[in-house]
Symmetry: C2
């Protein structure tokens, strides 16, 4: 079954200990799509400005994404600039230019409104809510956010969580929103806001998945040479949600397998700048690495 | 096959958000033994002062430990006082009184010198080396250390690593000794010092095991109510080495199973103060939790 992803398509400038790149194609929806497309048709819902290079449109189309609801508006494309140092676990944001993102009102087609798998990647919670209201028969809704919205649109975000099946947060966000230090308590508190399940991404330390019925925990895939972690969380979400959309059922086994696919997808993402590695990925690459990943912990 | 553990037997005073306790029986060798004894006979090599309560001796004997080489010397028992706050991941040391530990020269019997499984828990590297020289046919030697020795006896520690099969370090120590931020690179660098295999403990984030041939990675067992993490790393090592001593072979399967046993043993340790929980553990408790643990990631 196909999936719809709402998020950003951006021009990212990053600096890491391995080099720097200017105006790379990036954004939460773009990173998500590179992994999700390996499992299921992806409908990308985002906005860019008139300055957005045509080559990027062609590139995204070439990856099989449905861009019929990608708005190209008067104004500038969303830009983010950041830097990573040391262990590359935390980005230092140097600059953010919202551009057309500030007036974004997602539009979708009649056909798209009937898609059952939905991922609301990181944008303003009011934009996420706006899209969710348009969906006619949501079955599995995932949501990601960030500290900025947790601090500045806390009420809107918490209101939205009541309609979410899987809230995807990183560990800092989970602690910030819940006020709990222990990560299991944090997950439990977030579930208390209404999300049916909570998925906490811990970067190089793997993921924790929490529902009332079960707790899953997976390590990260060991990567020695991390070049650029930008978009790793979105790539993870793309592999995770993409696999579930394809599996068409949510149970302990499919959830754990989805977590594992998300993990290996993210491990490819961080091995090169921007979408360089994930845009060349094939499902069999994921499968091969999934087997290596299993060898890390199966006994 | 039996195991020999060299380390500290201490009187610990701890304060955590859940309360405080004074002069609890603790120390690296004591915590290690509580887990290792579930798998194999344990010979405890340590020193205490004349002030060491007789009830603790009886308690340790009652747990089946061989105390024939526990030295009771003139002077005071090693004491440690520490405090945990927030997420309980890091101890703040408030006070350390070495007492008899400062003049510790381990003694072992002829029979003990032929034991093949050896764990050198955290004490001065020169004391660790002193014991290792007495061993006649070491087959599997594990070693733990701490930042204090990494900073103050770096040369002695690195010299010792050449004779070690499994170097057990926490992530901060691994980064400090190797100078590498990426944890896989850190493990590789530590292996470069001579240890055959490297085991990096990451607390609530599980463990990473590194050798030239394989990398294993396991998450932690999810524990919601962490009461006192003191000794969790030593308990982990006890479960890990104890299982390997019993299995009598080191291969990918036994290593991963040993990591899993260490993980669940540590998860019991942090659920109560000092040795309260681990001293009551039975092998079947570990087995039951091991199965729950597997459910967290097996698919």
């Amino acid at each position: 079954m196909s999936i719809i992803v709402l998020g950003t398509v951006a021009l990212d400038s990053v600096k890491t200990p391995f080099g720097s790149r200017k105006e790379l194609l990036g954004g939460s929806a773009a990173h998500f799509s590179m992994a999700a497309r390996l499992f299921t048709p992806v409908n990308l819902i985002a906005i860019v400005g008139k300055d957005f290079p045509q080559k990027h449109i062609s590139f995204l189309k070439g990856k099989g994404l449905n861009l019929s609801s990608l708005i190209i508006d008067e104004g500038k494309t969303f830009r983010w600039a950041g830097e990573y140092a040391g262990d590359l676990n935390t980005a230092l944001t140097l600059n953010t230019e919202l551009g057309v993102l500030s007036g974004f009102k997602p539009r979708i087609s009649e056909g798209q409104s009937r898609i059952k798998n939905i991922f609301l990647a990181n944008v303003d919670p009011e934009i996420q809510e706006h899209l969710l209201h348009k969906m006619r028969s949501p079955e599995l809704v995932g949501l990601d956010s960030m500290n900025y919205w947790i601090n500045n649109k806390r009420k809107e975000l918490i209101r939205l969580l009541k309609h979410i099946d899987i809230y995807v947060a990183n560990d800092q966000e989970a602690r910030a929103l819940s006020g709990e230090n222990n990560i299991i308590k944090a997950a439990k508190a977030l579930k208390g806001y209404g999300a049916r399940m909570v998925l906490i991404k811990k970067g190089e330390n793997g993921v924790l998945f929490y529902s009332d019925k079960f707790i899953f925990s997976l390590p990260a895939y060991p990567v020695e040479k991390v070049i650029d972690p930008t978009g790793a969380g979105d790539t993870f979400a793309g592999g995770f949600m993409g696999y579930l959309a394809k599996a068409q059922k949510v149970n302990p086994t499919t959830l754990k397998k989805a977590l594992a696919y998300g993990t290996v997808a993210a491990s490819f993402n961080i091995e090169d700048f921007g979408l360089n590695r994930t845009s060349r990925l094939k499902l069999q690459d994921l499968g091969k690495r999934l087997n290596k990943f299993k060898d890390c912990f199966l006994f």
